[in-house]
């Protein structure tokens, strides 16, 4: 039987505690910062090496 639009699901799924939410937020911020630093580093290296950044002798 299909669920109608106004019916609420009986299983509420995973409900995070405040501590779990806080740690997840901290992890998300750390990932964002790491990505930002990575992008900035690659940009800086690209500027230093010039347009041929991926052209390397083996």
């Amino acid at each position: 039987m299909s669920m109608t639009m106004d019916e609420q699901p009986t299983d509420r799924g995973i409900v995070l505690t405040e501590e779990q939410k806080r740690r997840r937020r901290a992890r998300s911020i750390a990932i964002a910062l790491a990505l930002g630093v990575f992008v900035a580093l690659v940009y800086a290296v690209t500027l230093v090496k010039g347009p041929g950044v991926l052209v390397r002798p083996l």
């Binding site: 995973i14 501590e19 690659v42 800086a44 290296v45 090496k49 002798p57």
Partner: protein, 322 residues
């Protein structure tokens, strides 16, 4: 039993209730701990020295990028080590609080974290710097995670002797990043860390012998006894002292480095001799601490000499190799 009833049986637990994975309680500090930041700092420092003493120099931005890749690669190796060694870590007091045995990070998460970081570090070191340095970094991670962690550590008391090569590669990686090659001087730096590792780790194992025994790790004092370990520490310290002075003896380093290497080498021999004569935990702890200081001062001396251009005052006869 028909296929239909088999599939119904397999599916039955799914029909009754929804099973959720436990939400992660890992903090950012747990993921940082997986990277073994103290080991990483030593790796970065020795790689920096390898880079600075090389005859060719990278642009500072490229050098920084290379060091970040080397640091991340070292961290990845640490994460893979903690993933595989979680069972050993759990029974040792010193390591029981690590994120995987403590249950804050799942083993699969640590494995994925290590593999992804290793892939990124090697790929970008290769693309942006050169493929020799990237190949050496990849080999170092493989050597530490597979050869040392998965094989040697659990099978032979020579585990840290051979496995010590993993910790000795970073100055060669730094040198290779700067020059695109492997020079004799970078091999000398490799040898210094290689011969330094046994007295350093065996000193630690002497005051953690019961822990290693409980964990079933065949460290030298567990397998061959404390007396044999003290003898081996003395032998390796006697080997380390001249190896430590080789950069000066071969003309790659100046007089200041030579004097520091000789004094440090004599101090290591003296402490190892003291430990050999009087087996005390206090002396083992002292040797462990002094060994860290010895390596740091030795590499720092090379760094300072090259910055101040004092390495030109070394012995001249070694320069025929360069």
């Amino acid at each position: 039993m028909s296929l239909a009833s088999e599939s119904a049986e397999l599916a039955s637990p799914l029909r009754g209730e929804i099973v959720h994975a436990e939400p992660s309680m890992a903090g950012v500090d747990d993921y940082l701990a997986l990277l073994k930041p103290r080991v990483m700092s030593l790796v970065v420092f020795t790689a920096l020295v390898g880079m600075v003493v090389a005859p060719r120099h990278l642009h500072p931005v490229l050098a920084f990028f290379a060091l970040v890749c080397i640091a991340v690669g070292a961290g990845a190796a640490g994460a893979l080590n903690m993933w595989y060694d979680a069972d050993i870590d759990a029974v040792m007091t010193r390591t029981a609080a690590r994120p995987v045995p403590a249950g804050r990070i799942q083993p699969g998460e640590a494995l994925a974290f290590g593999l992804v970081l290793a892939g990124f570090a090697v790929t970008f070191l290769g693309l942006m710097i050169n493929w020799l340095a990237a190949g050496l970094l990849a080999f170092t991670i493989f050597f530490y995670a597979v050869i040392y962690t998965m094989w040697l550590k659990r099978s032979t008391p020579q585990n840290i002797v051979i496995g010590g090569a993993a910790g000795a590669f970073p100055p060669m990686i730094g040198w290779a990043a700067a020059t695109g090659g492997i020079g004799l001087e970078s091999i000398l730096l490799f040898l210094i860390v290689f011969f330094w590792t046994p007295p350093h780790f065996w000193a630690l194992s002497l005051y953690s012998v019961e822990e290693y025994r409980r964990a079933g790790v065949p460290m030298l004092p567990v397998v061959a006894g404390v007396d044999e370990t003290r003898r081996q520490i003395l032998i390796y310290s006697i080997l380390l002292a001249p190896v430590g002075a080789l950069p000066w003896l071969l003309g790659y380093a100046g007089l200041a480095f030579g004097l520091i290497a000789i004094a440090g080498g004599l101090l290591m021999i003296g402490l190892s001799g003291q430990l050999y004569r009087r087996p005390e935990k206090r002396t083992a702890k002292k040797l462990f601490g002094i060994s860290i200081l010895y390596l740091f001062v030795l590499f720092a001396a090379l760094l300072v000499e090259h910055w101040l251009n004092l390495h030109q005052f070394g012995l001249p006869f070694g320069r025929v190799f360069s």
